[in-house]
C-alpha cells in the first residue's frame, strides 16, 4: 500500500529525459515573461545534445516561490558558432555550449 502511494508522487516530481547525447534539437523561439534561464541569443537555434546534466527544479517556477516541480531534465547543448553568428570569424569547428532545460527544446 505504501509503495502504491509513493509511485504517483515520484512520477509527478521528475520529468523523464526525452533526448540523449548526439540528438539534434532546436531551442524554442519564444519570449515569455519571467525568470528564464534560456538566453535570448540562442532561442530558435539548432544544436546537438552534448550531455544530460541531471534533473533540476524549474527556475521559472522557483522564481515564483513555487516548488520547481516537476524537475526538468537539463542538457548541455552544443552549437556551431558560424551557425549562431553568421559573421563569426575563427575555426569552423568553434562551438558554443549552453545549458538548456528540456521544456525549451523541441
Amino acid at each position: 500500500m505504501n509503495s502504491g502511494a509513493r509511485w504517483p508522487r515520484s512520477k509527478r516530481s521528475v520529468v523523464e529525459p526525452r533526448f540523449k547525447p548526439g540528438d539534434r534539437v532546436k531551442v524554442r523561439k519564444a519570449y515569455p515573461l519571467g525568470h528564464i534561464r534560456t538566453p535570448f541569443y540562442i532561442r530558435g537555434q539548432s544544436g546537438v545534445i552534448e550531455r544530460i546534466c541531471g534533473s533540476f527544479g524549474n527556475p521559472e517556477e522557483l522564481a515564483q516561490q513555487r516548488s520547481g516541480e516537476p524537475k526538468q531534465p537539463l542538457y548541455r547543448v552544443r552549437f556551431v558558432q558560424k551557425e549562431v553568428w553568421p559573421a563569426y570569424q575563427g575555426n569552423p569547428g568553434d562551438v558554443l555550449e549552453v545549458e538548456i532545460f528540456q521544456h525549451w527544446l523541441e
Partner: protein
C-alpha cells in the same frame, strides 16, 4: 563592514542589502552570526583551492579522469565542499581551448575560485565572450592558433565550470605546491594559460 571613518550615504544596492538582511534577522530566518559566518567562509574561498585541484590532476592521472567524469565527486575526494551545484571540468588540449562565461548573470565556481572578478560580471565580457571569443581572449593577451578550436561554455543554469589547463613543458618533476603556484584564476576561467616565471 569595513569602516574607513569616511561616512557616505548608502548606495542603492547597499541599502537593499542592509534592509533585506535586517528583515531576515528580525523575522528569525537567519541570525547575524550566520550571516557573518557565511561572509567569512566566502572570504576564505580563493583561486588557490582550484589551483590545488588542477595541480593534483596534472600529477595523478586517475584523479584527472575522475575529475573530468564528475568534477563534484573528485573535489569531494580532496575534501572540497562543492554543494548542490554540479561542477563540470573541461580540459584544454592542443586541439581545443575552453573558456567560461555566464551571459545571464555571474555564475562562477565560487567554491573553487572565490568571488568572481569585476570583468567577469561586466556586460562587455558577458556579451562578447560568446560572440567573438577569439577577440576577447586576444584582449587578455591570449592568442589562440586558428588550428585550435575554441569551445565557449555559457553557464546558464545549475552547472559550474572549471577549465583544466594544459601543464606547461618545463615543469617536469615539480611538486604539487610548485605546480599550483602557476595556476592562476584566469587560467581556470580560460582567459589565460599557465606560464613559467
Amino acid at each position: 563592514m569595513k569602516d574607513s571613518g569616511n561616512y557616505q550615504p548608502y548606495s542603492y544596492f547597499q541599502l537593499m542589502e542592509v534592509s533585506l538582511r535586517e528583515l531576515l534577522v528580525e523575522k528569525g530566518v537567519v541570525t547575524e552570526a550566520q550571516v557573518a559566518d557565511e561572509v567569512e567562509k566566502m572570504r576564505h574561498r580563493t583561486p588557490a583551492i582550484g589551483a590545488r585541484v588542477v595541480a593534483r590532476a596534472w600529477m595523478d592521472d586517475a584523479f584527472r579522469m575522475k575529475l573530468l567524469e564528475s568534477g563534484s565527486r573528485a573535489c569531494e575526494d580532496l575534501g572540497i565542499e562543492v554543494g548542490a551545484l554540479k561542477l563540470v571540468v573541461v580540459e584544454n588540449t592542443p586541439a581545443e581551448h575552453n573558456v567560461v562565461v555566464c551571459t545571464l548573470c555571474s555564475c562562477y565556481p565560487r567554491m573553487l575560485l572565490g568571488i568572481p572578478p569585476e570583468w567577469y560580471k561586466s556586460r562587455n565580457y558577458r556579451s562578447r565572450a560568446v560572440r567573438e571569443p577569439r577577440s576577447v581572449l586576444a584582449e587578455f593577451g591570449l592568442r589562440i592558433d586558428d588550428k585550435t578550436k575554441v569551445r565557449v561554455h555559457d553557464s546558464t543554469a545549475d552547472m559550474r565550470y572549471l577549465v583544466l589547463p594544459m601543464r606547461p613543458s618545463g615543469t617536469e618533476g615539480w611538486n604539487e605546491e610548485r605546480l599550483a603556484a602557476i595556476v592562476t584564476r584566469d587560467c581556470m576561467i580560460g582567459v589565460a594559460v599557465p606560464k613559467l616565471n
